[in-house]
Symmetry: C2
Subunit: 259 residues, 2 copies
């Protein structure tokens, strides 16, 4: 099943994705919901982020090749995280599939994508075990952890480097039936593939994070957990279109628009 | 005017605070609202965080004496932030006035309060100027940026050090008429005052932060901005009661409960 959120008659609403259309739903995927019987052709949909999370969790460094590559570029030894320490992003930055990433005028040329798997929490959870951790999830979607690298280096926090408005595309939808072990993450810019990695080749996996986080923090329906990225991204320029595909979920596509 | 959020007949609701009672309100302080005519004695109120923010902003280092004191304790030169780089906290950790701060069993003895002024955004804002920045605020409340210091040192992020469930008491209410320049922040533990500082003695003030943040990020009704703390806190133990008073707002009181 594929859940999305769209703007319909001017209002945000949840909807179910079928082959060539979406079906508007009364209610939410986290509680009671009834299909309305209203269908919208896929081509006419205005996609919103598939959920606005109460808390927006995001993993920093989680793929060995990514860490090794960036250490080598800086001429230092790679340092791998020793435990799953979760980080945060901010909801003001979220936009949906096909929404432009609007880059502020004073951003440098070092603007880059990061293709990430996103877990969506479906039910309240605390004290999860390795056996039941995945049961709290509704499904999976895709995120682009878009970043301005000079701000990421210069500022004490990741506020504008990662959380400027529109810097966090998420979507296109939440897939509830997903084979994580079979999945690959592929990033293309203007239709040319530049990154391809095994989605589940993580230092700390989804279960590791859910167990660690829920030891201290109550997860609630709608919380999202972005799982980090692999590979090395090149700078993007005005007009570039970034497609992030995770096989088994779909493709999140967003154009870069320098303001 | 003082806005609070309480649990009433089992449900969260906004209310207005009068002398010895609160008055339940239909609606929210951010839009239409009508007093219901239902009054609850102050002594019977179950206080909730006065708002659940879409984004929970928090300033790290913002008081010169605090930074100098901690540098001296570590035997290093103080380093002052050069610009207002905002950070984040997480809503799972929020609790209201009089709710216990429940400390996980594996937390160390280094658990400490941080008394902070909290700004509450009342209307959507982007591109604020120094002249109009304060117009976007609904009012001010009080926060306790409760922290476990060993986790703060050991972990790559502040996840459990600052965002474990119940680690972010906020309240008791939002004061809409507040004289920031006249205010003092005073912290008492078990009735004994241990910290007293000028609330507005900040390196970067409320206007500085609102202008900087809103250059890149859209602020929305309910967003909160915690402004950092001054002074040096001692460790708390099971049963300690922490009162944080900001003159002109009120007193946020929470008991420490080791699990």
């Amino acid at each position: 099943m594929r859940w999305c959120r769209i703007r319909h008659n001017g209002k945000p609403t949840f909807a179910l994705v079928h082959d060539n259309e979406v079906e508007v739903v009364d209610g939410t995927p986290f509680g009671e919901h009834v299909p309305q019987g209203t269908h919208v052709p896929i081509s006419d949909v205005e996609w919103l982020p598939p959920v606005i999370p109460p808390t927006f969790y995001c993993v920093g460094l989680n793929y060995r090749p990514h860490i090794e590559m960036h250490a080598k570029m800086r001429g230092v030894e790679p340092v791998f995280p020793s435990q799953p320490d979760i980080g945060y992003r901010a909801v003001n930055a979220l936009v949906g599939h096909q929404h432009p990433i609007q880059v502020p005028p004073d951003a440098s040329e070092q603007i880059q994508y990061e293709g990430e798997l996103v877990c969506v929490v479906g039910r309240e959870a605390k004290g999860l075990t390795r056996d039941n951790a995945l049961d709290c999830l509704l499904g999976f979607t895709i995120g682009n952890d878009f970043s301005e690298r000079t701000w990421q280096s210069s500022d004490r926090t990741l506020w504008r480097a990662k959380n400027s408005d529109t810097f966090k595309p998420m979507g296109p939808w939440i897939e509830t039936d997903f084979d994580l072990d079979a999945a690959r993450t592929r990033v293309s810019v203007n239709g040319v593939e530049c990154i391809d990695f095994q989605t589940n080749n993580m230092l700390f996996g989804v279960v590791d994070y859910l167990v660690a986080m829920s030891k201290y923090m109550t997860l609630v329906p709608g919380d999202v957990l972005w799982m980090g990225t692999d590979g090395h991204a090149e700078n993007l320029v005005d007009g570039d279109v970034v497609d992030i595909e995770i096989t088994g979920i779909g493709t999140l596509s967003n154009r870069v628009e320098r303001l």
